[in-house]
């Protein structure tokens, strides 16, 4: 059984279609990146999964049930949706006490999650004095209170400094190592590439890709980068042979549609010196931008 499943989900807000017949599955025990441009419908989809937004049609289920129907739901699902959802006058520890009380979670978990999120020293601080990054950590701490099997995280890296991003990466890897299911939306595509094995890409509320990260980057193809002091001549020769060429800084050319052998042979045939030639795998960012551009939206 899929841990998380969207079945033909649709949602309109007035004249705007936020989510349009979206279906996907998230396999148990995977970390899945949920990608899309601003306004693509990611947050609305996550909120429909969690019962906060009512779909116009379709179903969103976790372990085969609607969120509201899950028994002991906070032990099954933890979620971070917005870092600003804190009463500014309540301390970090009291915020977690309230969440424990509402979810029926034993208080000893509070110290455990404070330690796991690096907030142990801030337990007595009022939420209003926390930085955005600290608020994100507190949101994660609240999500982890129930030691949940499934985590749904909406932009958890927002506001984190580089050290915080590295910490989040480690946390997500740790959660994956424990066999938990994580669905994480993020704009930090490099981070998603490092932490997720699967990726779901949506655009204007519709699914445009679902599968392994490696499949997405492979589909985008590899590029060959050549450095030559006679870049213009080699560029013309490659273009004439049908390859697509993009001029980069430092006398370098990025070539798609031709491999290293073809590019090197062409250069040698014309007596063009080549100082460097290498294959470059497409990054998740390249793949994402290519995919969303193909769908008609600028990156």
């Amino acid at each position: 059984m899929a841990a998380i499943e969207a079945r033909q989900l649709s949602k309109r807000f007035g004249a705007v279609t936020a989510v349009d017949g979206l279906s996907f599955q998230v396999a148990a025990g995977t970390v899945t990146g949920f990608l899309g441009a601003n306004g693509a419908g990611k947050t609305t989809t996550l909120r429909m999964l969690l019962g906060l937004v009512r779909p116009d049609s379709g179903q969103a289920v976790i372990w085969g049930q609607r969120y509201a129907g899950l028994g002991e739901r906070r032990r099954k699902v933890g979620a971070v949706l917005e870092a600003s959802g804190l009463h500014p006058g309540r301390t970090v520890r009291d915020h977690l006490r309230v969440r424990c009380a509402a979810a029926g979670i034993a208080r000893p978990r509070i110290d455990a999650v404070l330690g796991a999120t690096g907030l142990g020293g801030l337990a007595g601080r009022r939420a209003g004095s926390l930085s955005l990054g600290e608020r994100q950590r507190l949101g994660l701490a609240a999500a982890l209170l129930g030691d949940p099997e499934v985590l749904i995280l909406d932009e958890p890296g927002n506001g984190l400094d580089p050290a915080g991003v590295a910490w989040l990466r480690g946390l997500l890897r740790g959660l994956a190592g424990e066999g938990r299911t994580v669905l994480v939306s993020s704009h930090l595509l490099a981070e998603v590439a490092q932490t997720s094995s699967q990726v779901i890409v949506i655009d204007r509320g519709r699914l445009i890709f679902s599968g392994p990260v490696s499949q997405l980057t492979a589909a985008t193809g590899q590029a060959v980068v050549v450095r030559t002091p006679r870049a213009a001549e080699l560029s013309a020769a490659l273009a004439a042979s049908g390859a697509a060429v993009r001029e980069l800084a430092g006398d370098r050319l990025e070539i798609t549609g031709a491999g290293t052998e073809q590019a090197a042979t062409l250069a040698a045939a014309r007596g063009l010196p080549v100082f460097e030639i290498s294959e470059q795998a497409a990054s998740l960012e390249d793949a994402f931008l290519t995919l969303t551009a193909t769908q008609g939206r600028p990156g």
Partner: protein, 260 residues
Amino acid sequence: MNRQLHAEFLKLRTTRTAIGLAGLAVAVTALIATLESATAGTRQAMAIPSLATSAGLRDALASTGFALIAAAVLGTMITSGEFRHKTATGTYLDQPGRGRVLAAKAIAAAVAGALLGLAAAATATAIGLGFAVARGYPLTLPAATIARYGAGATIGAGLLAAAGAGAGSLIRHQAAVIIAVFAWAFAVELIVGGTATAVAPYLPYTAAAMMAGVTSGGGMPPIPSAVIPLAPPGGAGVLAGAAVLLAAVAAATTVRRDIT
């Protein structure tokens, strides 16, 4: 439901909102009770009758009009605060049953409002009786009547707070709903109560004020003398009905809205 109630009481105890508002209500009540008691029987403008009379002593003991409104405001803040601080998302993740959340909030508001009303009534009673005793006046009100005013302020404040919780669910914008509460008390009830005295006892603030023995205002506009109070159970019924009606309307409309 028990978990949600526990969480709602914990929310009240872990911020300064409830205690701050209760402190303000008690301070204003003390100020009004002191001013009214000090000037009682002087025939100055707005002065209440002498504390040696039952009417004067009642007005001094029932200086809880502002506290009743403060209780209603507290109720609105308990529900609208979830949207002001965007904590509604976490609340509904913990308890997706929105009706249950609203019910728990209304109960928590009623308890907090009642405590606020009790503190204000105790303050006004202590000050009014203190002035009367210090001046050597006989107590012209029986103990049962004094207790009834205190109980009326306590129950009235509790039920107004519960009604406020419903209003705060209906009008989620915190500043707007607080303005609406004051506008209702100062404008709607004053105008309707002044022009249709038969209807006035059925208006929520007036019903609560008359349960508490408030006639001279106690920080709020005076209740017109032509208004005949309902018996305390009737007043409590009016208030409970208002609280249930507001909660039911909210549950059928705004409470069902998407949390975006």
